[in-house]
Structure formats: C-alpha cells, structure tokens
Symmetry: C5
Subunit: 355 residues, 5 copies
Amino acid sequence: MTENNNIRYSKKAGLLPGSLVHIGKKKAENIKLTLFSFNEEMYEENEIIDTVKMLPSLDDGKVKWLNMDGIHKIDVIESIGKYFGLHNLLLEDVLNTQHRPKIEYYEDHMLFTLKMLGINKSGNKIISEQISFVLGENYLISFQEQQGDIFEQIRDRIRNKKGKIRQKKADYLFYALIDAVVDNYYIIIEHFSEKVERIEQQVIDNPNEKTLKEIQLLKKQLIQLRKSISPLREAVSSIIKDETDFIEKENIKYLKDVYDHIIHLMDSIESQRDTVSGLKDLYISELSNRMNNTMKVLTIIATIFIPLTFIAGIYGMNFDNMPELHYKYGYPIAWGVMILITMGMVIYFKKKKWL
Amino acid sequence: MTENNNIRYSKKAGLLPGSLVHIGKKKAENIKLTLFSFNEEMYEENEIIDTVKMLPSLDDGKVKWLNMDGIHKIDVIESIGKYFGLHNLLLEDVLNTQHRPKIEYYEDHMLFTLKMLGINKSGNKIISEQISFVLGENYLISFQEQQGDIFEQIRDRIRNKKGKIRQKKADYLFYALIDAVVDNYYIIIEHFSEKVERIEQQVIDNPNEKTLKEIQLLKKQLIQLRKSISPLREAVSSIIKDETDFIEKENIKYLKDVYDHIIHLMDSIESQRDTVSGLKDLYISELSNRMNNTMKVLTIIATIFIPLTFIAGIYGMNFDNMPELHYKYGYPIAWGVMILITMGMVIYFKKKKWL
Amino acid sequence: MTENNNIRYSKKAGLLPGSLVHIGKKKAENIKLTLFSFNEEMYEENEIIDTVKMLPSLDDGKVKWLNMDGIHKIDVIESIGKYFGLHNLLLEDVLNTQHRPKIEYYEDHMLFTLKMLGINKSGNKIISEQISFVLGENYLISFQEQQGDIFEQIRDRIRNKKGKIRQKKADYLFYALIDAVVDNYYIIIEHFSEKVERIEQQVIDNPNEKTLKEIQLLKKQLIQLRKSISPLREAVSSIIKDETDFIEKENIKYLKDVYDHIIHLMDSIESQRDTVSGLKDLYISELSNRMNNTMKVLTIIATIFIPLTFIAGIYGMNFDNMPELHYKYGYPIAWGVMILITMGMVIYFKKKKWL
Amino acid sequence: MTENNNIRYSKKAGLLPGSLVHIGKKKAENIKLTLFSFNEEMYEENEIIDTVKMLPSLDDGKVKWLNMDGIHKIDVIESIGKYFGLHNLLLEDVLNTQHRPKIEYYEDHMLFTLKMLGINKSGNKIISEQISFVLGENYLISFQEQQGDIFEQIRDRIRNKKGKIRQKKADYLFYALIDAVVDNYYIIIEHFSEKVERIEQQVIDNPNEKTLKEIQLLKKQLIQLRKSISPLREAVSSIIKDETDFIEKENIKYLKDVYDHIIHLMDSIESQRDTVSGLKDLYISELSNRMNNTMKVLTIIATIFIPLTFIAGIYGMNFDNMPELHYKYGYPIAWGVMILITMGMVIYFKKKKWL
Amino acid sequence: MTENNNIRYSKKAGLLPGSLVHIGKKKAENIKLTLFSFNEEMYEENEIIDTVKMLPSLDDGKVKWLNMDGIHKIDVIESIGKYFGLHNLLLEDVLNTQHRPKIEYYEDHMLFTLKMLGINKSGNKIISEQISFVLGENYLISFQEQQGDIFEQIRDRIRNKKGKIRQKKADYLFYALIDAVVDNYYIIIEHFSEKVERIEQQVIDNPNEKTLKEIQLLKKQLIQLRKSISPLREAVSSIIKDETDFIEKENIKYLKDVYDHIIHLMDSIESQRDTVSGLKDLYISELSNRMNNTMKVLTIIATIFIPLTFIAGIYGMNFDNMPELHYKYGYPIAWGVMILITMGMVIYFKKKKWL
C-alpha cells in the first residue's frame, strides 16, 4: 500500500553495477533543465535545450544552479555527469528513487538526496518524490522527479535580490533549498496531527471496524514518514560534524538550524505514534465496554422475565389438584408476586449500577 | 489538544531564512523591559522605555540583567540584538516559541532556551511558556512570553544582597534563574503524582469510559512533560561537559546540582508513566472482571430457572394420558422436585464460588 | 503510595541555592554523633556531645570515622562542615534525602550517597533511608537518617581487630560499609522473590481483583527498588573507572567485587520484573478462562433445555385437532424424544470436550 | 520449523577443535570445481577434476576465481586449503553451514560468509544456502552448498568483457558477487511484501484460526530473514571501516553502495515486522468485533421474545378467575400488546445502532 | 522456582569481606583433586590427596592442569590459593557459586567463571553448575561443583596426544575446556527448541490452563539461559579485545571462534523467546476463538428455539375466542410456520458462516 514497501528492483537485478537505469515510476513525461547563474551584481535564467552545447562554463566566478525536472532521460543525465565530472555511482544514486536520504562525499563535489513529501488530494496517501543535490565548489545541481516544486520562492529571492542569497555561494543556496523542503514537512505533520484528532473523536463517538483500519493506516504512514525523515537527520548531522569543505564554516550555523527543525519534527512524529498506539488501546477497550453493555441488556431482560415466565408456567400446569387455581384471588395474587419480583430485580440492578 | 502537537508554521513557511517573525500565540498585550545593574556595592533597577537611548553601557564593570516580558514586538528585539551584537539566527530562535529547549554557542555569548511550565486553573492542561536566556561576558538577557514569573525572589535577593548573588557574575545569576525554573517543575510533577493516585482510586472504585479517557490524557501530558524537560537535560549536560568560557569553573558545581534535579525529575516522570500504563491494564482487567460478573448473574438465573420452566412446561402439556396429573400429590411432588433442583444448583454454584 | 513519588519540595522552593534545609521526613527525634579513631595498634570510641570542642584533630595519623544518626539538626551539620572544610552544596546534598544515589568529587574529599532499604513490619512497603558518606584523606563521615543500622558488625571488627580493617585506611572502611549495605539488599530481593512466588500460586489457585492489585503494587515496588539501586551502579562504576585518589589502587578490587554484586542484584530485579509482568498476563488469561467456563455452563444448560421446553410448549397448545394428544402412548413417546435429544446434546458436548 | 532453530551439532560436539567436519544437510550429491582465470586481454574457464594437479599457479598475474559447488567432500577442501595456505579454522567455518554471516581476517586472505536466500516452490518456506568467499591478493574462492546459482550473469560479463570486471582485480569480482546476492534479497522481500498484503486482506475479509497461524509463521520468517541479513550489515560495515588491504581504496565506494542496499533491506524488514504485529492486533480486534456482533444477535432475539413469551405464558395459566380470557377482544388485544412491545424494542435497538 | 532467583546470602551477610565461605548448595559429598602435567613428550596424571605436600612445582616447564571436583572444603581451597599465590577475593569468587560468569585479571593469573548447564531427568528444569578457571603462566586450575563432567574427551586428547593440545600451553587447554562447555550449550538449546515446537502444537490442538503455565515456565527458563550465557559473551569478548598476556596472540583466533558460537547461541535464544511470546498471543486468541464458538452455539440454539417457543406459547393461551384453535388445519399450519422460521434462521446463519 505504501510505495516504499513495494520494491520492484527487477529492472536492475543482474545488470552490471554502475550501469545507469532509472528505478522508480516515471512521474513526468518531459524533462526540463533550467540554469540560474548569478552573483551579487547580476543574474541570468535560461532553459537548457541541448546539454552538450549549452552547459555553462564553470570558471566565470558566478554561482550556477542547474535544476532538472524529470530524471528518466538517461542520456541527458550522462552528459551532465560527463560535463561536471560526476562518478558513475553518483549518477546511479540520482536515478534510483528508492534510496534512503543520504550524503556521499566525492573528491570535488558531494551528493545529498532527500524526499520531498506531499499528501494526495483525497488526503489519505503520502506522495514521496526524491530530490538529489550535487554540490560543488561553485555550482549546485538539483534533480527532481517531476516539475512543480516549492522552490519558486527561492527563485524569486534570486531574481529580486532578496536576503543574502545573491551575496553567498552555492552552499548557501543548497541550505536554502533544504530548508524549504524541511519547512514543507511541517505541513505534512500538521495534516497528520489533525487526522489523529479526528480519529480520536471517532473512537470515542462511534468506533467501528473502519476506525481500526484507519488507525492501522495512520500507524503505517507515520512509520513511512519517520523512515523518510530519520535518515535525513543523520545526513545533516554528518555535514555539521564533518565540517566538510563544501560548506563554509560560517554557514554551518544555518544547517544547525535545519537540524533543530528535523529533531523537532522527529519528536512530533514520535508523539503522534504514541498517541496512535494509545488510540488502538482506547478502541479495544471501547469495544469491551460496548460488549459489556450488550451483556447487561441481555442479563437484565433475561433475569427479570425468566422467573416470571416460570411462575406463569407453574399455573399453566394441568394437575387436577392445584388449589391456587381455584382461589378467587389467585390470579391477582400471582400478578402481585410477579410485580414484587420485578421490583426486587430492578432495585438489585440499580444497586449494581446497571440501570 | 496539546499545544506542541498543533504546529502552525504557516506564518513563516517560505520566508527568507533569518527573517524575524514571532511564531506562537501572542500571550501578552504589552511588552515590558526591566534592567537590573549591580555589583557587590550597589544595584540599580530601571524600566526601559526607549531601547535606543536607554540601553546600558556594557563596560562599567557591573552585571546587567535585562528582562523582556512579551516578545511580539520585533523592532524592540531587533534593536536589542543590534545593541548586544546578537546573530540573526539567535533572534529567530528567541522569537520562535515552538523550539525544543536548547543551547547554542556564539562567539561572545550563548543562547539557552527552556520551557516554563504551569497548570491551568481547571487543572487539566499544561501551560508552557518559552524563556530564552542570552548570557554574555557581563550581561544576561532573559526573554519571556508574558509578564508574571517566578523570578521575583531572585530579584529580592539582588535588592537585599541575600546570598552570593551580588558578589558573583552574570553566570551565577543565569544559574539562579534556571534553578528557579527547575524547582518549579517539582510542583508540576507533584500535581501529576496526585492526579495519578486519584485516578488509580477511581479505576478500583468505579471504572467507566471517562476514566480511560483521563488515563489517555494523563499519558499524553506526561509525554509532553518529558518532551519539555528531556532536551533541557541535554542542554545543561552540554554546558557541564564543554566547560564553556561563559560559565566560570567554580560555578559548574551549581549547574551539576541543577543537572541532578533534572535527572531526578526525569526518573519521576518515567515512574509515573509506568504507573499510568499499569493503570490502563488495571482498567481493562477491571472491565473483564465486571463482564465476568455480569455473565455469572445471567448464568445463575438462567441455569436455575430454565430447567424449572421446562418441568412446568411438561405438566402444561395436554396429552390425554398423563397419569401424574391425576395423582393426588402430583402438584406438591412437582414443587418438591423443583425445589430440589434449585437447591442442587445453589450448592453447585457455591462450590464454584459464584455465590 | 511510594515515598519517592510524593515529592514535597515546598520547604525549599524559592530559597537561595546553597541554603541548608532538611528535606524529607524527620525520622529520628535525637541525633547521635559517634567517633571511631583507630590505627593498627589501638582504637578509641567516643560519643561527641559538643561538636565545636570535641571534633578530632585530623593530623594524628589515625583513621577517623564520624557517624551521625539523625540529620535534622542543621547547626551540627554546619559545624561539621566547617570543621572538615566541606562545600555548602555537599551539605545540602546530605540534608536532601530525596536525591538519587550519586558520587560527587570535591577537591580533598568526595561525597557518596546511597539508599539503605528495609521492609516494614507488615511486609508490604519498602522503607528507604539515605546514607551519605564523605570520604577524605584519613577520615570518613557517615550521615544516617535515624539510629539503628547494619554497621554494628563492622564496629565489632574494628573493636576486635578482625580482618584487615585496622591495618587499612579510611577507603577500606568506606568499602566495608558500602559492602554491608549492598549485602543487605539481598534480603530485600529475597523477600520479593518469595512474594512473587506466593502471588504466582494465588493467580493459579484463586485469582481475584485483589491479586491484580498486589501484582500492580509489586511492579511499582520493583521499579522503586531499581530506581534505588541502579544509580548506585553508576556511582560505583564511576569510582572504579576514574581511579580517584581517594581510593587506593589496591582497594579498587574490593569495589569491583561490590560492583559485581550490584550487577547481580540488577539482574535479579529484571528477572523478577519479567516474572511479574508474566503474572499479569497469566491473570488476564485466567480471567478469560473462567469467563469461558461460565459461558460453557450457560450454553450447556440453555442448549439442552430450550429445545425440550419447546416440545413441552408444542403439546401445551390448545388446537382442537392435535392427534398426538390422543394417542395412548403420546406422552411416553414425547418423553422418549426429549430423552433422545438430551442424550444427543450430551454426546455433542462430550465431543467438544465441554463436559 | 525454521532451519536455523533446529541446531544439530552432535556430529561435532566433543571433537578436537580444528577438526574438519561438514555441519549441515548434504544438499548436493556431487561436487563441482570451476576455475576462471582472466585479465584484461584473455580469460580461461576450466573444470577442475584433480585438485592436486590442476590447481592454478598463483603468480601468473591473472585473477583467479575458483568456485566450488557442494562442500561435503572434506579431502577436496583440505587440498584446496593446503594449496592456498588457508588456516584450519577458516576451513572449519566454510564447512559449518550454520554460522552467522561474518568476516574474518587472516594474514594474506580474508573469509567472508553470507547466506543466499530463496523461497521454496509452495512459497511458504525460506531456503537458506551458505556461500563462503576467500579473498586473497589475486584470487577469490567461493564455496557454495549446491550447484545452480545467481552468478551466471557475472560469468557472462567475464566471458564477454562487459563492464569493468576484466580490468579489475579479485576484489572487484568479490564485490560483484556480493552485490548479486544482495540484489537477490530484494526478490525475497518483495515476496513477503505481497504475502503481508494478502494476509491483511484476509484478516479484514474472513479472519479464522488459520490466519493467525499464517501471521505467526510470517513473523517467524521475518525474524529469520533479519537474522540472515543483519550480521551481513556488520560484516560489510567492518570492511568499509577497516579499509583492509584486500580491497583497493577506490573499490570501497562500491561496497558502500552494497551497504546502502543492505540498510534499505533492513528498513523494509522492520516496516514489515511492524505491519505484521499490527495485523495480529487487527485480527484480535476483528475477533472481538465478531463476538460483539454474535452477542447482539442473541440479545436482540432474546430481548424481544422473552417478554412476549411471558405474556403468552400469563394467558396460558389455568386460574378459574381470569376475566381477560373471557373478553371478546381479549385475544386481539393480547396480540396488540405484543406487537407494541416488539415495536418498542425495535426502536430501542435502532437507537442503540444495533439494527 | 529457578535456582538463581532464590538467593540465599544469609551465610555470608555481615561477615568480613574476603572471608571464605562456600555459598550455594553443597552438591558433592567428597572432593577430588586431579593433576595433569604434560608437555609434548610426556604426560602424568595424579590424584592429589594431601595438598600441602603433593602440589606440583611450577617451574619444570610442563603445563599443569589441576582440576578440583567439589568446592566445599575451604581449607583445601585455601592451601591451593596459598600455593599458587591467589588473591583472597579470587578464592571468594570461586566459592560463591551464585556469581554471574565473569573475568577478572590479577597480576600473574586471571580468573574466568562460567556456568555448566544441564537438564534434569524429567526434562523440566535447568541444572546449573559453576566452573571457575584460574589461568596462570603455565598452569590452569579448574574448580567444579561436583564430579562428572564433559571434559573427559579433552583428557583423552592429552593422554593420546590427539590434536595440538600437547604442543600448546595452558592457554590452549583453557580454550579447549571453554569450547567444550559452549558446545554443550547447543544440547540445551536443542532441548528447548523441541519443547517449544511441542507446546506450539499443543496450543493449536488443545490449549488449556496447563499450556499457559508451561509457556510461562519456558519463558522463565529462557531468561535464565540468557542470564547464564550473556555475561559469558562479555567475558570472552573482553579477553579478545584486551589481548591479555595470559593468552598467546595466535590463540586468540580460537577464542574468536568460541565467541562466534556464543553469539549464535544468543541469537537462537532470542528467536525462541520471540516464538514463546508469540505462543502466548496464539494461546490467548485461541481462547478468544473458543469463547466465540461457544457463544455461537448458544446464539444459534436460542435464536432458533425462542421464537418457536413463543408461537407454542401463543396457542397455549386460554382465551375463549381464538379462532385459529378451531380451524381444522390450525395445528399443521402452526407446524408449517415454525418450520419456515427455522429454515429462515438456518439460512441466515449459513450466510453469516456460523454453520
């Protein structure tokens, strides 16, 4: 049901290692390559049609940001790889969209992959898209599975020279993009937070089999969420600790800030998992409670009427010699006894707090 | 239901990183800035109206304590930041009241944030307020979300020169304030301790659906409590281990004492969580017990009367040839048999300890 | 219900840190100060009445053991503190009987606190008393909450020069005292071991609501036990690892032995916790079993008699035209059918192993 | 039921350590020894019949890959061991097929064992075969329990000079083989992923006793899977960290890739274990739900008819003086009352949402 | 019930530390001391009667193995201790049979204790015997609680010069003995493996209260097993890591092999614990299943017959004016209606899959 569990590696199994294959669903029909090139004074924004001719010179002192939407065109990726001198294993990682988020250092660039998360329209499925960043001395390449992203605001900041982004290098841009992804996680968490509360209400009001299945689904999705975010924590932490050359020292502070957000997200996920497993207990004991109530109804009815029916049965017997039957007040007395028994029972149940 | 789970980051998502926005509920209408300035010989206490003009000179050899109640006026915070040379990310952390407690070192000051906890009037909700401390060479800035705090006694100690506080530097003042917050946690823990015992009694006396919901709520709040206090342990521990310059070596001992208190608090929270999860088991088996008892009542009644009713049914049949019906003592004998059956049943149930 | 959970810090909250207050119940009416002073050749034993005049000179080359029973007289503790040059925070720790066991190093002495455990007379409550040791170059101070202890045998060894105690320094005495406390824990564990077995028997023989509450209490007490002993493990381990100057190298071996005992105790506590949580499961499934049995009784009775009653009902009908009623053998045949049904039911239940 | 649990060490217990005995089932009748010998220019492929005469010279600069299918012929293994100078303990490890995957360094070669996993035809059993690799300076020996493997594609690559395998040393070959095994694990995981979903559907549609046993079996097999893969993670991680001489530095990157796959597999296994344990809860509460529904049917029927039967019983009594019996409309009125009661009950159950 | 839980330290509590007391049950009546003395050329085997006179000279270049069966004669142990220069705490550890397995380094020898495990004849109790080894430069002392062991095969190897044992030093002998003990553990594990499968079958076929108690016992014994073996892992690991002088470097390989076996054993124990806790769940849901089935029987019977009995009741009423009673076909029609109702019910239950 969740994407990550349905691993289909068949496309690749048995191939040479290092051979480039796109693993995952093809999410976009066309690819789109955009290049931002900027420094404090100016910026340029171009769409790249022919990778061989149009790729930028790396030595003009400007920061380059090459963004690729759609990663199924292997030849384009290969020509990018050749141009920037990327290792084949790196390209393989970019193409395999079923990896965990990770960081990998190469001699003059590093690879950083993470998951962009979203919720589908009906609100019951997490959509996961892999974004890979290659960060070099003065360039950043971002690979996305499909067009349409949350980076538009960052593009605006570059265009309009908002904030420090035009004064800084590629590492700051890298931070800004990661930060945007992590900020976006909060929306997902919020969505779950609301869902948990809604189901909690439902468990209390009207628990049924569907509720339990929703709880089960919620639990699964929270596990999936944690699986997407938790390796990211390790990756960011490893950048902070290693003090790699790819990130300037003064920008490490910003990544620490991202790291704090991730820790906060992880905390929230753990809380919600605790709450969800509490919901299951609540559900089970609600069921128990309801069964108990059913039993009480049955017991009350049976306990009142069975003795009465017995008395009626007695005086329905056909013995010749049953003097009560011939007493003038036999019938009313029988009624009286039955009313007394009923009243006794009712008092007994009241005392037991069943009524 | 708990504040921390309802993350609302929308105000900020997509903004430039480092842009100052107040995140959280605006808890106070007005802000209030108070400045204590003291050394062993003298002390001054002033309310600051105009931050630009009135902020103190940092070089007069006195310890400065600037306290700000209400943090939603971003311009005031910015001017304080400018005055003391605080990093923008630090100010952001001060403004974001949804962070976990943490410590962050800057070149010539450090940031320490923690949660002040309280219980609302009806006693069923934890109120959490973030307090941020900026500790520099000879000053301490404290940011609180609203007026009214537990620091009044420390102010009295400064005013009346009680204890060592006037002989010491800003780091000792910093310790004294943290200590006051941690001491205050004990009141919360005590409150929960009493609540747990009350609910335990309720589970034993009269468990109902409301009880389970109270247990569920208690469990949630204990998680929230742990989430507020546990990162504080890490933060204090990191000060002790790092032997930072901001705290004099001889004052580390005091922070170790605070650390011991936090460990003790964590232990108590864990015990209470164990107890609470024990309560849930107790509740479930109480339910089981009660169901069992209901079943016994039903079984006893049914088991006694069903055979009797059968006998009555027999002699209510209309066969022509039923000799018992015409025996003179048929009726009393029938009664006798029924009484014997009842007595047998009663003995059987006594042996089974159902009666 | 357990002592440690009822934290009452109100006496202290808001006071100056470092101010001496006795926290905990006052367990003894009077205090008693005893001084042992010995070396290999001789020993002296005195009761100290006036701390100012009578405290021993520290430089006579003898080992001093000052024992104080009852810690609520703050002036006495203060004068001891002054005499031995103890830090105020150390005295505070001695006075606060609600701390976890811990070790704290000071410049020329160290503090070691642990819990002396006992069982109250009715056998259902753990009594916890804090003992604090201050170990210096050639002296040991022990603070106990009340008179009466398990150290009498060690006093005898000093008096009668048994073992190595008179040849050794204060550190060996320190070890001997801790060893006595830890040995004493075994009695507590044994007590619980017996209790667990008794309750296990009870669950099997006659589980009732009281049983579950006893299991719940047992679980709580085992947590309390672990909470008292577990930090002791850390403290002893820290002495062994740090190779502090206060303990001679050749005596570390003895502390390792104590450490092994503590580990063994922790193992036993964990086993018992496992057993106790197994008991709860056993209890719950015993309940289920019993409910099942109740249900079977009801089902057997109902299943046998309901069809019989139906047959009796048939022939109690008053239709004009019911030929069976007028057959000569109608009544015996009806009985026969009913007996056959009963036998069939009994065979069915036998096959189902319900009878 | 699982192979690993049925440990039969009897063949070996009490023998000299270092004595060679084949431990495990004999899975192949014949053994087969194949030798690949290649460099960039050429390759040779031979079947070895007589190990003494035909084993290759190690110094001709070519990479040797000796593969052995079937490991029960101890003399053959001994002669290989002698030829390559392998330690006796290494040979023992090769022969013992019940070891956990592990890595063991020797002076001029290293041993690496792992499990090749498969599913039997009926799809309900994991088949595990141990493969051991001995990696030396310029040779690789692989021991398999039986013929037929997943290495055919790698042989093709050597034969046809596909990829880098002919340009590289034995360490790259070693990586290629391990990679093939790990890729194969994905098929197993996929198989389980489908099984889990099928059983999930079954729990929802028609849970019965068999379902629970399938869940139990699934859980066991996932544990077995984890037991086979988890030590492999440690082993590969240890190669990466130790930077052993047997693997060239530039090839470590490939092993890191394998390591990432293993981590990914472990994650998937953990997710599935979570799901499976969720299934058990789902199953139990489905049972509860069904019991509840059974109870409701019983309660509805009993609650409606018991009062009606009582009324019928009343007017079946034979009192002389029962005026209702002689009213003209007595009978229809009785029916009317009974219909009213029934309607009341139905409304009551509708309100309770039982109907 | 398990030996280790019944700690009886009373013999020792309060004694001088370092005083020798035998703690544990006296398992043997007599003690027996045997001395092996060998090198590659020759071996001697003697029984020692008088420890003072007959203990071997340590400097003759031969390996000495002194084995003692029965450890309750303290004077003999003391004289051995004096002869070999053993620390008093070491002797204490040898005498105390309730310690966890451990390793302890002394200046020129080391102590290694472990548990020899067996199963009693009825197969339901683990018998644990402590074996202590003292390994010195050229001697090994082994202390066993009783005669009869699994070392006979190793003695044969010495006598008959099988394997390397006569060429090696005391450290290899030490390894050989530990290896024999660990190999023996596999028999225990196998025993449990079979027991687990037998009980699993029983849970499925005929679960009753005894089954649950067997599961509970099994769980306890697996904990005991783990408690005996787990510290052994630590001890062996510590030898391997410390690279102590007592074990020659080239023999460390053998201990690594032992270590692998222990890890494998631990894995098996964990698997079995998982399986056993799965059994409990299986048992509980079997109970639930059976209760459900009981309920169904009751519900089917009651639901079919209660309406029929009601109809019979109707026509047993004595109203004057009941036209149906006087119809010619009233009685057959009543039967018809009743048969229709029954058939409807049966179809309903078939649809619900209750029949």
